[in-house]
C-alpha cells in the first residue's frame, strides 16, 4: 500500500517560528482543540439521535485546515472541505452556530438547508462546499481570476482530497490557474483514503508532481504539523500576491476515523492507524507550547467550557420553520458579494 510518509517541507516548521508569536502558536492549538472537541461533541449528539443524516469529522487532520487558514488575510476567500472545521473557526464562525448546523437547527449557518460541514459563512469570505469533489477548485480559481483582473492583492484558497485528483475538475482548475497564472492556493489533503479506496488505486504518480506539469509550484508538507502547514501557506500566499501564480500544497496526513459515522474502517490496516496515532497534530503542538511555558491544561479547560456553553445554546435553539422550506431558491434583491473574514495571525496586524 502506497503511504506517503511526510517529509518536512522546504521552509518547514523551523522557519515558521520566525513568523509566529507565542500567541499565534496558541491560536493554532486552540483552533485544533476546538475543532476536535466540537466534532467529538457532535459525534455524541449524533449517537443520541440529535444530528440527522451521517456525521463526518477530521480527527487527526486538524493541522491541515488550522495551519493553512491561519495564513489567509481578511480579504482572501476560502472554499473549505468537510474535514477542515478549524478553517471555519479561524475565519470567525462560532461554535454554537456550528453545532446548530450539525443538528439542522435554525441558527445553523445554512439554517437547516444543508448539513454537517457543507457550509461557508458568506459574511466571513467563505463559500460552502458541494459534495461533488473537487468542484470548489474551479470556484476558487474563478475568484482568483477576478482578483487578478481587478489588480487586487488577494488570493483564494481551497481544500480537496486525494480522491479529488482523479476527477476532471481537478485538471480543469489546475490547468486554468496555470494558464492564467492566478493567485490561488490548492491544498491537497492527502489522507490516504477516499472513502474506502486507498491512494494506490487513485493515482499512479504522487499528484504533487503534477503541479510542475501545469506550470507552477507543488510542495509536500507534513499535514500533521500546523506550523509547517502555516508556513507553506504563507509562502504560497506571498507567491500569489506577488504575481507568481498558484501553488499546490500536498498536505500528507491520515484519515483516523471512517469516512463518516457509519463507517467502521475495517479496510484500513490497524498498523497504519497506530503508526499515524503517534503523530497526532494536537499532541505535537501541545508539546511545543508546553516547552515554552504555555498552560495547556488551562487552555483545554477553557475550550471545554466554551463547547459546553455552545452545546447548551445550540440545543436550546429551535428547528427551522417548515413553512420556510421553499423560501430563498432565488435571490430577489441585490446580489451581495462575499464579506471579509477574521484573520488572527499577528502578521496582519
Amino acid at each position: 500500500m502506497a503511504t506517503h510518509m511526510a517529509e518536512p517541507a522546504a521552509g518547514g516548521a523551523d522557519t515558521a517560528v520566525e513568523h509566529l508569536t507565542v500567541e499565534d502558536r496558541v491560536w493554532l492549538l486552540r483552533a485544533m482543540l476546538l475543532m476536535r472537541g466540537l466534532e467529538e461533541r457532535a459525534m455524541s449528539l449524533y449517537r443520541q439521535g440529535r444530528v440527522p443524516g451521517s456525521f463526518y469529522d477530521g480527527y487527526g487532520q486538524e493541522a491541515v485546515s488550522a495551519g493553512a487558514a491561519f495564513a489567509m488575510g481578511p480579504e482572501d476567500r476560502l472554499c473549505i472541505l468537510h474535514r477542515d472545521l478549524a478553517a471555519h473557526l479561524i475565519r470567525g464562525v462560532t461554535p454554537a452556530r456550528i453545532l446548530s448546523q450539525y443538528m439542522g437547527r435554525a441558527a445553523g449557518i445554512t439554517h437547516g438547508r444543508d448539513g454537517n460541514v457543507h457550509f461557508g459563512d458568506r459574511k466571513l469570505g467563505c463559500v460552502g462546499m458541494v459534495s461533488m469533489l473537487p468542484d470548489m477548485m474551479l470556484v476558487a480559481t474563478g475568484m482568483a481570476m477576478a482578483f487578478k483582473l481587478r489588480g487586487e492583492k488577494r488570493c483564494a484558497m481551497t481544500w480537496f482530497g486525494d480522491g479529488s485528483t482523479s476527477r476532471g475538475d481537478f485538471h480543469e482548475a489546475m490547468n486554468w490557474a496555470g494558464v492564467q497564472k492566478l493567485p490561488v492556493i490548492f491544498v491537497l489533503e492527502n489522507n490516504q483514503y477516499a472513502y474506502s479506496t486507498p491512494v494506490d488505486k487513485q493515482y499512479a504518480v504522487d499528484p504533487v508532481e503534477r503541479a510542475a506539469a501545469y506550470g507552477f509550484v507543488g510542495v509536500t508538507v507534513d499535514g500533521n504539523d500546523a506550523e509547517a502547514m502555516f508556513d507553506a501557506a504563507r509562502a504560497a500566499r506571498a507567491r500569489a500576491l506577488s504575481g507568481d501564480g498558484p501553488t499546490l500544497i500536498e498536505a500528507v496526513t491520515m484519515r483516523m476515523h471512517g469516512h463518516a459515522a457509519h463507517d467502521d474502517m475495517k479496510y484500513v490496516p490497524k498498523e497504519q492507524v497506530e503508526e499515524w496515532r503517534k503523530r497526532d497534530p494536537i499532541e505535537r503542538q501541545e508539546a511545543r507550547l508546553r516547552a515554552v511555558g504555555v498552560d495547556i491544561d488551562g487552555l483545554r479547560a477553557s475550550i471545554k467550557a466554551e463547547i459546553d456553553a455552545a452545546a447548551e445554546e445550540a440545543l436550546a435553539g429551535p428547528m427551522p420553520d417548515p413553512g420556510t422550506a421553499t423560501d430563498g431558491v432565488f435571490c430577489t434583491g441585490e446580489a451581495e458579494p462575499l464579506g471579509d473574514g477574521q484573520a488572527p495571525w499577528s502578521g496582519f496586524n
Binding site: G120, V127, V139, M143, E172
Partner: protein, 321 residues
C-alpha cells in the same frame, strides 16, 4: 429604431452591458480574437480587450465554475457555450454549485450562460439539441428563450442584470433569419410571456424557434382565429398568461422543438390539466420532436423536427374536435 437581426441584437446587448458595467466579463471558447463560432462577439476584443472578452481553455466545467467564483466576488460573467450541447460538460457546476448556492448559503450567483441551441441545419446529434428542460428541472436556475430580435436584446439585458444564474437559450436557426426593430440602448424585457398574435378559437403555446413556425402555420387555418403565445421565459413560467390563453381560446396546441418527454411543453400541459381544465373544449395537443437524438442527414432531420405542416395539421384536427 434600428432594424437588427436576432444575432445583432444579442451582440448589441453584450456590447451595451460591457460599456455600462465594468463588472461584466465575457468568457468562452474562441470568442475573443476569432469573435465566436457564430461571430456574436466579432470585433469585441478591439474595444474591450482580451481580459473582458476572454478566450478560455476548452473546458466547459471550467468556464461555468470559474464564472461562479468570479460572480461571488462581485463580477457579472456572461459565459458562452459554443453550442448548447456542450453544457452537459458544465452541468454539475451549473446545477449543483450555482443553482443551489442561494438556497443553501444566501449567496447570489449572477451569471448568464448563453446557449446557442436548436437544429435544422444538419448539425447532427451533438450540435442541435434543445437542453432547456434539464435546467427547468433544476431549482435555482432561470431559463429564457427569445424568439424576436427585440426580445433577444431585452431578455439578455435582463438576464445579465438578474442576481441569479440564467440560461439564455439563443436559437441558432433564428440568428440571421429573424430581423426586427430594436430600441437602442439598454432595456430589460420582463421574464413573462408575450401574445405574439391574439386569437379566439385556438391557442398555440410555444417559445424560441417554434414561434415563427407557429405564426406561419396558423396564418390561415380555414379562417380560424388562432392565438400564438410566446412564453419567452420558461423559469419563471408565466402561469397567468398561459391560463389566460386557455380561457380565451379553449383549445390548445403546445409546440416544442425539444424532445417530447418532460419538455417545457409537458410542464405547460400539466399546468393546464391541473389549473385550466374547466376552460378546455378539447384535448391538450402536443407537437414536439420524438425522443431520438437529432439526426444529421437533411431528410432524417426534417422528419423529426416540428415544422409548419405538422403544426398546421395539429391545429386543423383540434379545431375539428
Amino acid at each position: 429604431m434600428p432594424t437588427l437581426t436576432y444575432l445583432q441584437a444579442i451582440s448589441s446587448a453584450l456590447r451595451d452591458e460591457l460599456r455600462a458595467d465594468p463588472r461584466v466579463l465575457l468568457m468562452g471558447e474562441d470568442i475573443g480574437v476569432f469573435g465566436g463560432a457564430f461571430k456574436v462577439t466579432d470585433g469585441f476584443v478591439d474595444e474591450f480587450g482580451t481580459d473582458r472578452v476572454m478566450d478560455t481553455p476548452l473546458a466547459e466545467s471550467g468556464i461555468i465554475g470559474t464564472a461562479i467564483g468570479a460572480a461571488v466576488v462581485g463580477m457579472r460573467p456572461v459565459c458562452e457555450m459554443q453550442f448548447s450541447d456542450f453544457i452537459s460538460c458544465g452541468f454539475d457546476q451549473l446545477v449543483n454549485v450555482a443553482g443551489k448556492m442561494h438556497y443553501r448559503q444566501g449567496l447570489a450567483v449572477p451569471i448568464t450562460v448563453r446557449l446557442p441551441s436548436g437544429g435544422g441545419f444538419s448539425g447532427g446529434p451533438f450540435h442541435s439539441q434543445n437542453p432547456e428542460a434539464w435546467f427547468m428541472h433544476s431549482p435555482g436556475i432561470k431559463v429564457v428563450a427569445p424568439s424576436t430580435a427585440e426580445d433577444a436584446k431585452g431578455l439578455l439585458h435582463a438576464a445579465i442584470r438578474d442576481p441569479n444564474p440564467v440560461c439564455y437559450m439563443e436559437h441558432k436557426h433564428l440568428y440571421r433569419r429573424v430581423k426586427g426593430e430594436v430600441p437602442s440602448g439598454v432595456f430589460e424585457t420582463p421574464f413573462t410571456a408575450r401574445v405574439a398574435r391574439a386569437g379566439a378559437d385556438l391557442a398555440v403555446i410555444t417559445y424560441g424557434a417554434m414561434v415563427p413556425v407557429a405564426l406561419e402555420a396558423t396564418e390561415d387555418v380555414d379562417g380560424a382565429s388562432i392565438e400564438v403565445l410566446d412564453l419567452r421565459s420558461l423559469v419563471p413560467l408565466d402561469e397567468a398568461a398561459i391560463l389566460d390563453s386557455v380561457e380565451r381560446c379553449s383549445k390548445v396546441v403546445i409546440v416544442d422543438e425539444a424532445n417530447a418527454t418532460c419538455a417545457a411543453g409537458a410542464q405547460v400541459a400539466a399546468l393546464i390539466a391541473e389549473k385550466g381544465f374547466e376552460s378546455l373544449d378539447g384535448p391538450v395537443v402536443r407537437v414536439a420532436t420524438p425522443d431520438v437524438p437529432i439526426p444529421f442527414s437533411p431528410p432524417l432531420e426534417a422528419a423529426i423536427l416540428p415544422g409548419v405542416e405538422r403544426v398546421r395539421e395539429a391545429c386543423r384536427e383540434l379545431l375539428a374536435y
